[in-house]
């Protein structure tokens, strides 16, 4: 049985997490970041499962709650969510560093992936980030995706699912049975065919930093990046739309690994999909830790 304990940290110790100690000291620690408003156990207890498997492999984990989520207190200083979450992730690293951790891997799903990415850009301590279904992380420091962008991403998402995914028969069955507005289907296909992924046609897009360069900033520092996408998730379409023709350049960067879990949804609901995610993250984390946990 893994003996876990509560760790309170941050200013006035208002942030709360569960530390899962490793079977042996390695100085390597994984931080599991909140997904949306799901507290530190993770969606379908994913963080609990991961933490206990990582601990057996020799890696400490901390699964904690950002302020205002789960067991952590609210902030009252009005800091926007992304800035606050990055600051709190850095505080979590401080707390683990005080307990002997030296190198950090950040793991997150959905908004957790966004915070993992932006924290690694802002702080030099993470040596790896696992981004599970990220969306919005390449929209500057606010990570806010305007509605006009979302509309284009969602059209692309729908066309990909209907034309070239494992779900296409399921979707076409719904279309044939009248469960989907046919004119919407036609409009989406036409609009996506006309839409060049890297075309920047509104003011806000001109100020976005080049996506590939942000990844390059990480890998130049030696940060390993795992991108894990569910086939049914919009994050895949976000990456295509945001990076355009340079997506292949991004995926070829040394240290960047990209995997797609075919047949899975955003939150990896089926048990088989959860097992795939846990196994993949575990393999990647152990690979990142390398000699530090050997023996």
């Amino acid at each position: 049985m893994t003996r876990e304990h509560v760790l309170c940290f941050g200013a006035d110790e208002t942030l709360t997490g569960i530390e899962t100690p490793a079977a042996r000291e390695s100085g390597f620690a994984v931080l599991l970041l909140n997904s949306g408003i799901v507290h530190h156990v993770g969606i379908q207890r994913l963080h609990v499962t991961l933490a206990r498997r990582l601990a057996k492999a020799g890696i400490i984990t901390l699964r904690f709650d950002f302020s205002g989520i789960g067991d952590s207190s609210y902030r009252t200083d009005g800091t926007p969510f992304v800035s606050a979450a990055i600051e709190e992730t850095r505080q979590a690293m401080d707390a683990l560093a005080a307990r002997g951790a030296k190198r950090f891997l950040l793991v997150g799903l959905c908004s957790g992936a966004v915070i993992a990415f932006r924290t690694a850009l802002a702080d030099e301590r993470p040596v790896g980030v696992a981004l599970i279904n990220p969306i919005g992380h390449l929209h500057g420091s606010s990570c806010r995706v305007p509605v006009s962008h979302l509309r284009r991403i969602r059209r692309r998402h729908f066309v990909r699912l209907a034309m070239g995914s494992s779900f296409r028969w399921k979707i076409w069955r719904r279309i044939v049975r009248g469960g989907v507005d046919m004119s919407l289907v036609v409009r989406s296909v036409v609009a996506t065919a006309r839409d060049r992924p890297d075309r920047h046609d509104d003011e806000s897009e001109h100020v976005l930093p080049p996506a590939v360069e942000e990844y390059r900033a990480l890998v130049d520092r030696g940060v390993g990046v795992l991108q894990l996408h569910a086939e049914g998730d919009e994050g895949l379409d976000y990456m295509v739309w945001r990076c355009g023709g340079r997506l292949a350049d991004l995926e070829r960067l040394p240290g960047v690994e990209t995997d797609i879990v075919a047949g899975a949804n955003h939150t990896f609901t089926p048990l088989w999909a959860q097992e795939r995610v846990v196994d993949r993250i575990l393999d990647w984390a152990v690979g990142q830790a390398g000699g530090a946990i050997a023996g």
């Binding site: 049985m1 799901v38 379908q44 959905c110 779900f167 049914g232 047949g263 899975a264 089926p270 959860q274």
Partner: protein
Amino acid sequence: MYRRLAQAMVGAGLPVLRFDPTGTGDSQGSLDSTSLTDWVDDTVAAVEYMLRSTGCRVWGMFGVRLGATVALRSAQRLGGDGKLALWEPVLDGQVYLEELSSQHFRANRESHILTQEAQVGEFVGYRLGRELLEEIGAIAAGSHAMPGQIETLLMENETDRYRDFAEMLGHCGSAVTREVSPEALDLSWREDIGLAPLPHQSLRRVAEWMARS
């Protein structure tokens, strides 16, 4: 939700313990190797710990759906002075399992999931073990051991949904307060993990009732 309720109760002067029974949340174990009996044991142990550590003589328990059913069974074991707040307790296990199944099928139908052969006991991302499934399936209206003279608050989504059950509790000596919750309890599966409406009024009401001497 439970944190909010705990804060409201603490604000009213009550010491509170929130805990996860075996195989759930932060506790050890998994759902495929636990049982309702384990959960009742855990709950009784939690109440006894609180009575011992706080010096209180009156216990209180709050539970939602299956958690309310576990609280009911635990109250029967504990006896003594206590207060029980039950929100939509599960009184028919077969109906409850059918609800879980229908949520599972809805998730598969509406979400981008390529359906593979479901594992036995798989319900929307969780696997329930055989013993737990059997015990839940055996929950039947009228088969509940009644806790005796315990003050009980029954929160229901619709008027008279728990009328018969409240009468049974009353016959066993409980002082029962029935209330339609100001916000309907919706624990159905949803893929959007950025939204979860909190039933503030209902939680405040439970805290007020629990703090009333």
